[in-house]
């Protein structure tokens, strides 16, 4: 008996698959993580209830999720935007750190009324993040050097500079800890009344809308999408790949920079050695999970914020190591890229029958909306 496995490229991805893939990836990741929970003797159902339902218990716990979501939305956009042009901003973490460092420096050293100082801080952080992305962007646009490697290298350099600064020139506060002094009150982002969430969230949501408009209603967005789906055709149509690469990656860096300062000025009140638990790396899963539209990216950022908050809850309540957050994050994306294969290809298994033996075809079907 012959078993024939045939793989065909799909002409069109059915919409239930396109919409269902991210949900499948999350479900599969949580299903596999059950093994990790059971292995340390934790009831997985109780753990998931604590992680994903309890954070919705009160206004205070919901606002915790929103506080976490704020930098994740911004830095997620910082990966999403270049991704639309076909670039991988793997090093958003470095741009986030650059924004946090410069923003903190301005907050501590520039004395202005609150209404003035906060825009100055935001502006400075965005510039810093953008500049940190500029060299990789330029190297990619001008010389074709992989932005994956260069943005990563720049991240490691930024992390070392941050360590140098909080141990040396910017070190402040009592006890000699590797941290800066507290930000002055005027520089702290005001809280949204009744919650712990801060104006950074409003800034983030505003930028989400702006990015949506820019990507879907302007010529700039059209160009980015065109270059992202077929750079050579776009070039032939008279669009400058150089400009699109430079603009999207630098803009992505600026957004990541904003994420950095919003976490400091909105939440932690000072720059310290480990203020960002890899938000810049989480941005990659966020952008991937929400790659088909900026509002889906927003949902993905909220999901990962929930994962962070929920992960900390089970760490405290059930002594589950907080590394469960990394495990779930990685599994979600590993299942997502597995599932995406089945978005692009159809697998059919037939027994006892042999046909023309077509093999894999490389036709890519984009599922953008």
């Amino acid at each position: 008996m012959l078993v024939d496995i045939e793989i065909d490229a799909r002409e069109q991805t059915p919409s239930w698959i396109a919409y269902g893939t991210p949900l499948f990836a999350i479900a599969a990741a949580l299903a596999v993580s059950v093994v990790a929970l059971v292995a340390i003797g934790v009831n997985p159902i109780a753990a998931y209830v604590e992680m994903f339902l309890r954070p919705f218990g009160t206004v205070a716990t919901i606002s915790n999720v929103l506080v976490r979501a704020t930098p994740l939305i911004l830095v997620g956009l910082g990966v999403y935007l270049p991704m639309k042009a076909g670039l991988w901003n793997i090093g958003a973490e470095g741009q986030l750190l650059a924004g946090a460092i410069v923003g903190t420096w301005i907050a501590i050293n520039v004395t202005l009324p609150q209404l003035l100082v906060i825009p100055v801080i935001l502006f400075g952080s965005a510039i810093a993040g953008g500049l940190w992305a500029f060299i990789p962007a330029w190297l990619r646009a001008k010389w074709g050097i992989s932005e994956i490697i260069t943005t990563l290298l720049f991240t490691f350099i930024a992390a070392d500079i941050q360590l140098y600064l909080v141990r040396g020139p910017m070190q402040g506060g009592s006890g000699g800890f590797p941290q800066t002094e507290l930000l002055p009150e005027a520089a702290e982002f005001p809280a949204i009344p009744g919650t712990r969430a801060h104006v950074g969230l409003l800034v983030a949501l505003l930028i989400v809308v702006l990015v949506y408009v820019a990507m879907n209603r302007t010529r700039f967005g059209f160009r980015v999408n065109f270059v992202g789906s077929n750079a050579d055709a776009a070039e032939q149509a008279g669009m400058s790949r150089y400009r699109v690469y430079l603009l999207t990656l630098v803009a992505g860096g600026a957004l990541a920079g904003l994420a950095g300062i919003s976490e400091i000025a909105g939440n932690q009140s000072r720059l310290h050695a480990s203020f960002a638990p890899g938000y810049g790396y989480t941005a990659v899963p966020i952008a991937l999970l929400g790659r088909n539209g900026v509002f889906r990216m927003l949902l993905a950022a909220l999901f990962f914020a929930l994962l962070f908050v929920g992960g900390n809850r089970v760490t405290v309540a059930m002594e589950v190591p907080s590394a469960i957050i990394d495990i779930v994050q990685a599994l979600v994306i590993l299942f997502l890229i597995t599932a995406e294969f089945f978005q692009r290809y159809r697998l059919s298994v037939s027994i006892g029958r042999r046909d023309d033996g077509r093999s894999i075809r490389g036709t890519e079907v984009t599922t953008d909306d």
């Binding site: 990563l152 720049f154 490691f156 500079i161 140098y164 190591p321 990394d326 093999s359």
Partner: protein
């Protein structure tokens, strides 16, 4: 300040520190020569390090631990190979997520092994000729005395060089990284060749991890790799995909690292009588700061990466042409 004991200590530390980079870097080099970028090395090192410790504690044999660590690195690489080669997933994403998964899993399960006691690789010399070699001043004790894994790594540099330049298998591997379509028409199984390269890469990354926990540190700690996997990725670019240069690069990066750890005892400041002391001493102090020194490997790699492309000095051993490109057999 530059007395002999300082130099010997420095050389010794450099050679020891470079073994992890040699092993992981050779693995990455093989994988990339076949066209697959593996950003999961850091995760594979961690998996190898923890599983090596677990196996050593359970069996009492560090050689079994080393083998188990290597194999667990290989198993992690299997996921990468399956996703990138069979499913044509994005190599950068798959690799980064495997690093995240490796970090997560080893931190999650590693806590209870952090205090585990075991006998790791002892320092030793080569059999027969070892006694003579160690007598060589400076070079002898630094290069020819160390854990067995140090010698394994050095042997592998030659083996990988020989594999890639002198054997059919190696040339076929390189051909699928340069031009998979042509290789395919010549009858080379592109998929099998790429799988093989990625799996060897994982095996060596796992070996690097097992060396780290069983020979270099002699203990498991969370996040024991501390970014060395990333340095190995940078090292391959620095070495322009050549095993010989990789050895040189590993020593250079190892030297940066051991200088950084000894930066407290480095006193290169100019004396007060020097006219430039006021100007240069702050610069020297800045450059010798441990945090600043730990970015040197990345800066050097960036410079090499940019310089070779901008100056168009690309020779035959430059970046594999089909790196990061998935291969499908086009039917049209």
């Amino acid at each position: 300040m530059t007395d002999a004991s300082f130099l010997i200590g420095l050389a010794d530390a450099t050679v020891s520190a470079s073994t992890v980079l040699i092993l992981a870097g050779l693995g990455e080099l093989i994988s990339e020569r076949a066209g697959i970028l593996n950003l999961g090395v850091e995760g594979m090192i961690l998996v190898g390090a923890l599983s090596g410790v677990v196996a050593t504690v359970m069996t009492g044999s560090y050689w079994i631990g080393f083998a188990v660590g290597s194999i667990c690195g290989l198993l992690t690489a299997t996921i990468h190979a399956f996703l990138c080669i069979s499913l044509k997933a994005d190599q950068a994403i798959s690799g980064i997520m495997l690093t995240l998964l490796g970090t997560g899993v080893t931190t999650y399960f590693g806590q209870q092994w952090a205090s585990a006691q075991f006998t790791g690789f002892p320092d030793r010399t080569l059999p027969v000729i070892g006694g003579l070699l160690v007598e060589i001043p400076l070079l002898g004790p630094t290069v020819f005395e160390g854990p067995a894994t140090d010698f394994v790594a050095l042997g592998l540099v030659v083996a990988v060089w020989w594999l890639l330049t002198r054997t059919n298998l190696g040339l076929e591997m390189i051909s699928v990284g340069e031009d998979p379509e042509t290789a395919d028409t010549m009858g080379i199984d592109v998929f099998r060749m790429r799988y093989l390269a990625v799996l060897i890469g994982g095996l060596l990354a796992g070996a690097a991890g097992a060396h780290l926990s069983l020979a270099f540190n002699g203990i498991w700690t969370n996040n024991i790799a501390a970014g060395q996997g990333w340095i190995a990725v940078a090292l391959v670019i620095f070495a322009r995909w050549r095993p010989g240069r990789l050895l040189f690069g590993a020593y250079l990066f190892g030297l940066f690292n051991s200088l950084r750890l000894r930066s407290q005892s480095l006193d290169l400041a100019l004396g007060p009588e020097s006219p430039l002391a006021g100007l240069l001493n702050p610069v020297i102090e800045f450059l010798l700061n441990p945090a600043i020194m730990s970015m040197y490997p990345y800066i050097v790699t960036l410079v090499v990466l940019v310089a070779t492309i901008v100056l168009r000095r690309d020779d035959d051993s430059a970046q594999p042409a089909a790196l990061v490109q998935a291969y499908s057999r086009e039917a049209d």
